[in-house]
Point group: C2
Chain length 522, copies 2
């Protein structure tokens, strides 16, 4: 029987009772390892983290905590090869896709290590200048951010077991808040292994880092008033979290990233020969195929001027046609598999739903699988759908198919295009393609109201832009409405969620004596 991965709680590696859940190779179907968290004393684990871990972390300065993150980066780099092996086996991803997860995790953790170093020897963040509260300046108000005296429960999605872990963990730990990590069960192996390596290196103080693998719906019940929960996953689970008694009656602060129907928009007036057209086509094809479309930021809806609809359909389909699909161990393969057969079935159901309101522009069935058995492997070729009547295609605007599927739509005017983007009801990211800086700068803020990020691609950044779907730690990640309303990353902004803002009203002498830091950073 497959090895059981232990959980780490109360500074001890602990096995759950029962047989747990088996993690599978999504290409070959082999059993890999098992996870389970039944019967653990969660209350003791949360209390230990909150009290021991919290006190130890808060005693450190931002610079000291940054140094701990830097030490963790070293450990992860040293074990990088093992992580790629686990990713191939458990996520079915090709090397470049595994790299987005693993190297993305290491890069993000390193970024916060450096940010912490720049924040200096302080234990609080000063927020803005002091402001006089009366006619004279003897009594003033100054705002500070201090770490919340609780624990952070970090619940991750299956598609980024490495990056999803560290993009949440880094800001929490840098803030001085202990973490309890709950990886998605299907791909928990990589997350558990990374935590194991970092724990065994003895970097963080006792109680700072815990991991609970497998189903454990009891975690939420442990949350107290100063704790926070950060979640990435389905809108359905998000609703469970938001309406959970702990969150509702103990006012536990939550950050949620649910689902998102991200858009790509080609500016009106673009011609077939313009470089902006090619930039959109290339980016769309990349977003559909990378990680087999299993990115919360992937392009799901593509809007082009109606006169370019047919040409865009042809150009994107042509690129998609080159995609090779199958076992990621074969070096000619560019698209590995989805995370599981269950996920594959889910994508197929979504695709069937979209097909009722769309035409098929590029068919996944045209891709024969390489070194993979269609009866076993969760592999799936790319699909491009078309909705010539974009306004009527309701499902395209409200159904997130979490796989290699996107829909092309024509628009009549900029006004029409912006209205169509907004039909997504709040998204993580919309990318915008064009050549006229003035026009791009006018449209971008219009998109900002309903997107957490606006990614503008113009010919001058053809080779330097960071990609529609790549989440950079310098920019906020999250989006309003359907996307969950949360906000992660964005440099120091990521730390705000783990801090409490307070106004300190005092005499100038008291304010001058406050321990402080050099300010915000960026």
């Amino acid at each position: 029987m497959a090895e059981v991965l232990p959980n780490y709680l109360c500074e001890r590696w602990q096995l759950g009772i029962g047989k747990g859940t088996v993690l599978l190779d999504p290409v070959r179907g082999d059993a890999l390892v098992r996870v389970g968290a039944s019967g653990l004393d969660l209350h003791a684990g949360f209390t230990h983290a909150r009290e021991q871990g919290g006190a130890s972390l808060r005693a450190l300065t931002y610079r000291e905590r940054g140094a701990l993150l830097a030490a963790a980066v070293k450990v992860l780099k040293a074990n990088r090869d093992a992580y790629f092996e686990i990713a191939t086996a458990n996520s079915g991803t090709v090397k470049s896709d595994s790299s987005i997860d693993i190297d993305g995790a290491i890069f993000t953790l390193g970024y916060y290590a450096k940010l912490g170093d720049g924040m200096g020897d302080s234990r609080l963040i000063v927020d803005g200048p002091a402001t006089p509260l009366g006619k004279d300046a003897s009594f003033q108000s100054r705002h500070v951010l201090v770490p919340t005296p609780g624990v952070a429960l970090l619940i991750n999605a299956f598609n980024f077991p490495a990056w999803g872990l560290w993009e949440k963990a880094a800001p929490a730990l840098l803030s001085g808040v202990p973490i309890i990590i709950k990886p998605a069960t299907a791909t928990a192996w990589l997350a558990q292994r990374m935590v194991r390596d970092v724990v065994e290196a003895g970097i963080f103080p006792a109680g700072a880092l815990s991991v609970v693998c497998g189903e454990s719906s009891a975690l939420l019940a442990e949350l107290q008033s100063f704790d926070v929960v950060s979640f990435t996953g389905s809108a359905q689970t998000a609703a469970v979290i938001r309406s959970h008694p702990s969150v509702v009656t103990r006012f536990v602060r939550s950050n949620i990233e649910a689902d998102s129907l991200n858009s790509a928009l080609l500016l009106p007036g673009t011609k077939r020969d313009d470089e902006a057209f090619s930039l959109l086509v290339r980016e769309v094809a990349r977003e559909i195929t990378v990680k087999s479309g299993q990115k919360c930021t992937a392009i799901r809806r593509i809007f082009v001027p109606s006169e370019l609809y047919a040409e865009a359909a042809e150009a994107i389909s042509s690129l998609l046609g080159k995609a090779t699909v199958g076992d990621p161990r074969n070096e000619t393969v560019r698209m590995g598999s989805l995370v599981s057969r269950a996920q594959q079935a889910d994508v197929q159901r979504g695709l069937d739903l979209l097909r009722t309101q769309t035409t098929l522009l590029h068919d996944a069935a045209s891709h024969a699988l390489i070194d993979a058995d269609p009866q076993v492997a969760a592999c799936m070729g790319p699909t491009l759908l078309g909705a010539p009547a974009a306004d009527e295609a309701d499902r395209v605007h409200d159904t997130e198919v979490f796989g290699p599927v996107a829909t092309l739509m024509p628009y009549r005017s900029l006004h029409h295009a912006l209205a169509l983007v907004r039909r997504g009801n709040g998204s993580l990211v919309t990318s915008l393609y064009g050549s006229d800086s003035g026009a791009l700068a006018t449209v971008a803020p219009e998109l900002a109201a309903t997107n957490g990020r606006v990614h503008v691609v113009s010919p001058d950044v053809a080779s330097s832009h960071t990609g529609h779907g790549n989440v950079m730690p310098m920019s906020v990640h999250g989006g309003p409405g359907r996307a969950g309303g949360g906000e992660e990353l964005g440099g120091v902004r990521a730390l705000y969620f783990y801090h409490r803002r307070a106004a300190i009203q005092a005499s100038t002498a008291v304010l001058a004596a406050l321990p402080s830091t050099g300010g915000h950073g960026a």
Copy 2:
């Protein structure tokens, strides 16, 4: 039968169907006016506000919106006498207490008018500097805040019908977000009258300002993804809002201020003759009596070094003994009435509960009512309770009695005192009294983790500090945990709730062409 106050929705004054709710004079028991919102077409009202009001407001710059607020200030100032008359009749407050509400509202609105003027001719807020995303600086990330394209539902508490309205309305309108105001029913008259005066002056564009009085549980169901709801009131109603399907499944952003067991803390080592002792005594007595303790920020728990417990009890009781209670129309009266007999009964129930774990240090019964019939008036003298065994008095730390009641407790050490403050599980404000700037500056950040505001009173600001319970627009108002987790005011920070933050990733040329503002302000 008492006059019925109409609601304002879809640019029309509309009466609800049915008899509505009668508003009473809490001192004399007279019927004053009636309110009701049954049968209104709320969906049409929300849609009109969202579409017409939102578009018109967002077309204006911050400076232009600030000018609208300034025009509203003029209207409110011109009608100030009428507001005091309504407050006396409907809230039962003495003139100085009515002033906290009415003049506080005008001051806060004026503050945001001025802030808007300083924000200049822009329609978005730039958040921090641009940050390079790659090795060269050709592609960068810049964060902006843009107004949410929805409506703000503002649900207020009964104790501040004027200030509660405008401290929420000013930041929302300045942000470019149309508002629908739902005043607390018991004191809706003053809010409705202020809105009426401003509407009749024709200051704001159509759809910017609506008011719905009386019971209307259907309001929440109208909220959509880009709408926001800001609520002040009971923890019970707060839980209803947080778990409402609109909030849970449409990710409506909510700001909640629920209840709070605020503290006053005298630093260890203080002596009976120190001015800090007198400053605490004076502030505590003021907080218990002002507005008859019906302030969400009022001091409920007082912590003094154990050796000063008896002397603090005597000094506070002595000041409370001077309070005159009764009809606010009598000029010798310093404490008017509670808002209603129902509220008085509620306070009495809470007091009875606290009495099971405390001793009585100053008895409300020692205050005979002036010009008021105890069988009719909701008047109530001040009560000081004592809990010599502070750790055991659970109810004192978890029951907010919303009236002229506070509990004095001794502590053994600073560590003990901080632990007791934290027993409130998150508060709006704790005030700290002492003479040593260094000691005050060390303790204040400790309190910041569990309080939205820390108010430090030292002898050098004896006459210039703004008061424990007064909410200044320059400082954030809100608190973690039990206090609801919300954040209002705090200068420009109040605008964030009504904005969406987005990262715009683009070439330096595009970022340079973005419409911008001078920056944050404070």
